[in-house]
């Protein structure tokens, strides 16, 4: 919630964006002489005037899923996040980087403003939307608005402050879960104040920048899997829930369910948890007890009964499959709860993409999705799994790509919706002396050679990050 005091006035920008959307939408339906359409155009002009201040030109840009006005990012406010995201998506669909709007709009006839809105709408689907729009505007002698190209250079780095905050939040999350676990292990009854604060921060961070937040879920800890797994499950579950429109307050609850879903593992000996080779029946029984034990530990946290009740069911169900197979097997035959089904998907995805002591080779994210899809309708809720794949993309963030150029690259932004198979990625450069990888340039696999029209790079295959001993997040943030 912290924000700079010298921020641009959010309210004016908010009004401007709203009026922009009203205008582009009405211009789709109505002709130039329609009163409503003209009114919308007029509102847009008025809101532009309010935003000009003394600068004579208004510069709107998108980068890193953020909207920049006069080169400054807007202060984060929960209420306007959805609006900003709509604007970002609107421009991204047209492969535009933004607009410059000049004061000439004051003298411009409203019909012309509407016509420009229509052209902007129509830019979507054009071969080169920026070129097309620029020439169309020129042809119509519209000079008060200048489209800006989509700039790759703007997109390679989230703001440093955001990166640091994201990593710190992850670290807080790990520390928080560990803190609760340690207290439970010493028979104390921990409160959930810290965890709640953290869950709320996670929700805010996710709303502010979903891709940065999701990038955190690629963090792995080979030596102490349970804590990173808990945090990753929370992150993935929250992202899926947000993707399908779950309200904010419920995201906080889901986050806590994710963070605490494996609390019961503290009662299982590490020798069993990390055992290489086949588990005995007795050991397997012990493992199966962990979801029950998680619920037991949640029930003993120091929080109101209502609060605890809201967190008990999904952890209980997280190893139950959609068809109610899995464990624990009980007389209860109720369908698995909504959050239980979400948690199951995130839990499996993180588990099979994480190398473990007893199973050093994990699946790469893309392969994991294919594997999971085999269980749709049986192991997983088919609609939610579909939504998960839709959200995460077939080449999820953190996937290590091997390219036909011989380069290795980590996916940092999936190519949805235009180029799902051609994401943006950061090239991994190898230090030949140490053998360690460091961050190279950011590329888009959708980029083509301008003369031949062929793609500059193609994907040959994928690798799991553990093969290279890298944390993808180091290259993504």
């Amino acid at each position: 919630m912290s924000e700079k005091t010298d921020r641009p006035d959010n309210r004016i920008i908010e009004t401007l964006i709203r009026s922009f959307f009203s205008m582009v939408q009405t211009s789709r339906i109505h002709s130039d002489n329609n009163q409503l359409a003209l009114k919308c155009a007029q509102n847009f002009v008025v809101s532009c005037q309010a935003a000009f201040r003394n600068q004579g030109e208004l510069r709107l840009r998108i980068a890193n899923d953020r909207l920049y006005v006069q080169e400054e990012t807007l202060g984060f406010q929960r209420g306007t996040v959805a609006l900003i995201q709509n604007m970002v998506e609107y421009l991204e669909r047209r492969s535009l980087g933004g607009f410059n709007i000049s004061e000439a709009i004051r003298q411009c006839p409203l019909e012309e403003v509407l016509n420009a809105a229509r052209l902007i709408n129509n830019a979507q689907g054009q071969q080169d939307p920026f070129e097309w729009l620029t020439s169309e505007l020129e042809a119509c002698r519209v000079h008060w608005i200048t489209p800006q190209p989509h700039s790759e250079t703007d997109l390679n780095e989230p703001a440093m402050e955001l990166k640091e905050r994201a990593l710190k939040t992850y670290s807080y999350a790990l520390t928080s879960v560990k803190d609760v676990v340690e207290k439970i292990a010493t028979h104390k009854h921990p409160g959930i104040r810290h965890a709640t604060r953290l869950a709320q921060s996670m929700v805010d961070l996710m709303i502010e920048n979903e891709s940065v937040f999701m990038a955190l879920s690629t963090i792995r800890d080979y030596d102490d899997y349970t804590f990173t797994h808990s945090v990753n499950v929370a992150i993935l579950s929250m992202c899926l829930a947000k993707h399908i429109g779950v309200p904010k307050q419920s995201l906080e609850r889901l986050s806590l369910c994710g963070l605490f879903h494996d609390l019961g593992k503290i009662d299982i000996p590490k020798s069993v948890l990390n055992k290489e080779g086949k588990l005995t029946d007795e050991e397997f029984k012990q493992i199966q007890m962990h979801s029950l034990l998680s619920v037991q530990h949640i029930a003993t946290l120091r929080a109101s009964r209502e609060r605890k009740a809201s967190m008990l069911i999904p952890p209980f169900e997280h190893h139950l499959k959609y068809d109610l197979s899995g464990y624990p097997q009980t007389h209860r035959r109720n369908p698995i709860s909504f959050f239980g089904r979400i948690l199951t998907i995130s839990d499996v995805f993180d588990a099979i993409t994480s190398p473990r002591i007893y199973r050093p080779t994990a699946l790469s994210p893309d392969r994991a999705l294919k594997f999971m899809y085999k269980g749709t309708g049986k192991d997983f809720d088919p609609v939610l799994l579909k939504a998960f794949i839709d959200m995460i993309g077939l080449l999820p963030l953190g996937t290590v790509l091997e390219l036909d150029t011989g380069e290795l690259a980590v996916v940092v932004k999936n190519g949805k919706p235009v180029h799902p198979a051609r994401p943006r990625a950061v090239v991994l450069n190898k230090d030949e002396q140490t053998g360690e990888f460091y961050k190279g340039k950011t590329i888009s696999l959708a980029d083509k050679d301008l003369t031949s029209g062929k793609y500059l790079r193609n994907i040959v295959g994928t690798r799991h990050c553990s093969h290279l001993n890298i944390q993808p997040v180091d290259f993504m943030l």
């Binding site: 921990p190 080979y222 008990l312 198979a421």
Partner: protein, 563 residues
Amino acid sequence: MNAFAMLAKRTDESTQTARSVKQIINSFLIVFKNYALYPENHAICKTSLEKAKPPLYLFFQNNFHFRIDVQKNALIFDSQIVYEGGETEENLAFIFFRDGIEWLEFQRGLTEDEIDRFFKVLYRYRILREEAEGDLVTALWAEDFSHIRYGVKEVFWNADNLIDLGELRAADPGQVAQNASEAGLIQMQPPEFITEWAEAFRLTPEDHEAIKRMIIEDETLDRAQDVLDILGIILMNLEDSKDFEEILDYLKEEFFDTLQLGDLEFTLKLLKNLHFTHQKLRDNKPWTIPLFKRLFSDLCRESTLAALQHVWPTIGPGHVEKQKLVFDILTLLPSRAIYTLLPMMLESHPLHIHDLMMDIAVHLARRNSNPLKQFLTDSNEAVVIKSLKILSMLNQPENNAIFLDMTRHDSENIRKQALTHLLAREGDFLDVCISMVDDSSDAVRWLALKHLGQTRNSRAEKLLTTHLENTDAREENRSHILDCYRTLGQCGDDECIGFLKKTLFPRSWVQKLGIGSTIHQEGALHALTALNPDKAGPILSKASRSFIPSVRAACKKALAGGK
């Protein structure tokens, strides 16, 4: 406007703003202070809260937002300290600081409801408990105010206790070397395939509808039953008594909360589940028996059943279903619930509630009347009387001894109630009654005599005759002696005629002269008037002609029906 006038105007505005800010802060402090002293709904709190609103609205007439920065013990407005206090939870600035709030901003458009909710948050979290569920920041976040913003610094974690992400290893280095070969490469599907797949995974309108339904369902779902089921399953599986106890504690809270909320059906279900689990585990896990025993005992405690105070007012005379649910819930508790229930019965309740409580108490006492019996030695007369009433409704002959015992209680009311209940039961209580005709209480004596005089009964006749023979004709006993004779008239038959005749016509000269015997003579005449006229009539006639003045006078009185 010249420079001086502009300066003067600016100075005026800033003075006005400073005054306005002071008013806002003062009114905030008053509300905060009152919240520390009185319950949230107290009239004083409400009044001070109402008074805190106008200064803010006045401020918003000229300003877009009211922002205060927080320092450890002080509130800052526009770089000026506007409030300062000690490092205690009575200091508004300190509690903001304690939870990491760096600044607060109230914006124009702030609604009264938002102000109310803001202070509710302050009220709830002004004192921070150890291992709390939340704090000011979590509560402000949950409220999601449209016109209140705040900045927060994380206060829990510092660099020392944070896990360093740089230390985490993504993989086992030994394995890395092994896997870094071609074997680690997974051949990629052609891009067209991925594009097709991506299309296949795009959510359809039907999927969106299904998801919308899931979300609505989840938002409106009552999870209570599921939670109950799951906790039941966990209890069945636990092997550790401490863990077991912790779940029982959770369920105890659940019982209290749901009862308080008036969710009677669920409370009943919860209790039935507990009994079910208790029975199931009895043989396999005998160590659970004392734990359940303690749980059920806790459920009977005043602190738990206090929840009923919220339930009673919601049950109307016609709410038969609800009454049955309450009955079923409370009668599933051990009989010791009477310890809590009985004092509750002494409070003022509508008749139908009192009757309901009585039914419950009787049911519980029928199972085990020992808890009820313990109340018989209570110093509170009303408690003892209520216990006697419940005991009387048990229809257990073995309780007669208790009533008999209680007829010797110091309290007149208790003796009366004990005797009333005793006499309402089946059995011969004439001896008890004769022993009580001398009771210091008019009411008790009246009850005893009424019982003795209920029917013609030779044993009662004999007992009364003997009693009267041994009763001194003292003036202070006059009323009592006359009542006994009247009762004798009601229960007596031929047997007492001789005694009455002897009383009426004494042989000794002393008696004939009427010294000390007039009360008995008068009483005997009262008895005779109530007896068989064939046998009593001649005696009465003789008495009316007696040469002894006192006999004549008594006869006159008795026939007149006077005393």
